[in-house]
Subunit: 290 residues, 2 copies
Amino acid sequence: MGPDLPIQLDQLAIVGTGLLGSSVARAARARGVTRRIVGIDRSAVHRDRALRLGIVDEASTELSHAATAEVVVFCTPVDVIAAQVLALAPACGAGTLLTDVGSTKGEIVAAVESALPTGVCFVGGHPLAGSEKGGPDHAGAHLFEGRLTILTRTARTDPVALERATAFWQALGARVRVMTPDEHDRALAVTSHLPHLAAAALAGLLPPELYELTATGFRDTTRLAESDPPLWSAICRQNRPALLQALELFLGRLENFRNALATDDAEALLALLAQGKKIKQDLAGGNEER
Amino acid sequence: MGPDLPIQLDQLAIVGTGLLGSSVARAARARGVTRRIVGIDRSAVHRDRALRLGIVDEASTELSHAATAEVVVFCTPVDVIAAQVLALAPACGAGTLLTDVGSTKGEIVAAVESALPTGVCFVGGHPLAGSEKGGPDHAGAHLFEGRLTILTRTARTDPVALERATAFWQALGARVRVMTPDEHDRALAVTSHLPHLAAAALAGLLPPELYELTATGFRDTTRLAESDPPLWSAICRQNRPALLQALELFLGRLENFRNALATDDAEALLALLAQGKKIKQDLAGGNEER
């Protein structure tokens, strides 16, 4: 398939039919990207829901059922993706494109590239879209529309595979940006992983007697704390060095607030608040993913 | 007016016709609480919009024009409320109820009570509703529906005035809870003021090159950073001791995350994330203000 042709698959396989995997399937179906979709999931509930909702045409527990697809998208937790890719790869035909939606890229891409058989291509991916609500029931065909999907390029990335992965995500409605796995992980530590920690830390300190005294501000600031703890524990652990750096930045800035408050430094406090507002305004000016 | 009768005013005055003041006016109008509404604002833009939108019947720069109202609601920044209450009070008739919507209560209530002339009653108030968007244009008649409004009681609070203030807020659709100013300030330091600092600190550390790599998670976690810096600087400064305590709690919890990450302690990390999620689930279970 030429890189400039629209993607038209005979079979797409989705490994992990949770929110993201089912949304990839729904988007692919809605946009006529594939004739048939196979979903692989060890959860009977997910398989059943994905079949009943028409998200997949076939649901299986067997990873090997994905081997006949031209494109396989791994939508499982970040700490199992690499092993699954390497388990499936030897069974795949030449030219099969394997890709993923994991929130971290460094460990996954390195592990896969260290052992991938020749003829099969892997391109790391991460659509900047999701929800704190999991499962096929919350999946949507429009989840990726206008959103950015990051694809990774390393010295070992096959250029044609990267072009196919780009065409695939664009066919789902996404914009695509190519970065190295390391660039991705350092950026997402700040823009995604740190906000998850901040939300969890803030939610976690609320005593029950104050529940009634929260409003929309507390609710929105802590929304990300509703995310699945095992999934996010794995993400944080895979991105430890960059996340620790981001956390230091955040602690430093909070200490600036503490100092301004402790010394009742009105000017410093105002400047800190104004800096946050300025950046929010710049973001709203058109550079923020919606 | 008996405390069990529905509130029916001849004239309501709103000092400060921004988002909250204009919403109080809209709610009072929609629910037939008053025959006439006077708005006081030094901003010509606010006065003009509030008049054109039918939020107030009369708009004035002169605080003294509020003196003939039976109820006056001060919706100005927390650092000017007490002085305005004390400036207006001597001109008010006996039985006038003065109240406010300030996000802090300790300093305001103490300052007012120390100098209030006899015959005029003040009850501190704080509706747990609002928006990061300011001004009459964003005001809504339904802003307080089903939300909690906190009213303050001290040793000097007139019981009948507290009952009238309760009836007034209930007439706007709010639920009412009575607390001491100190209880209010310690609670709101955690549930509202700390989230504002956290949001501002997180937004403030984002470098421009990462703007494109933010998504809904970053956006929601930092929504409160869009609030008005001078307003929030004043709120933080009025609640310094309690806010500093809340900030210490937050820093301590973030340091727990840092330690779990630094030592790659999977169990501790999972427990911290799970604690945040548990509290979010308990909040969603019905105790959270919506």
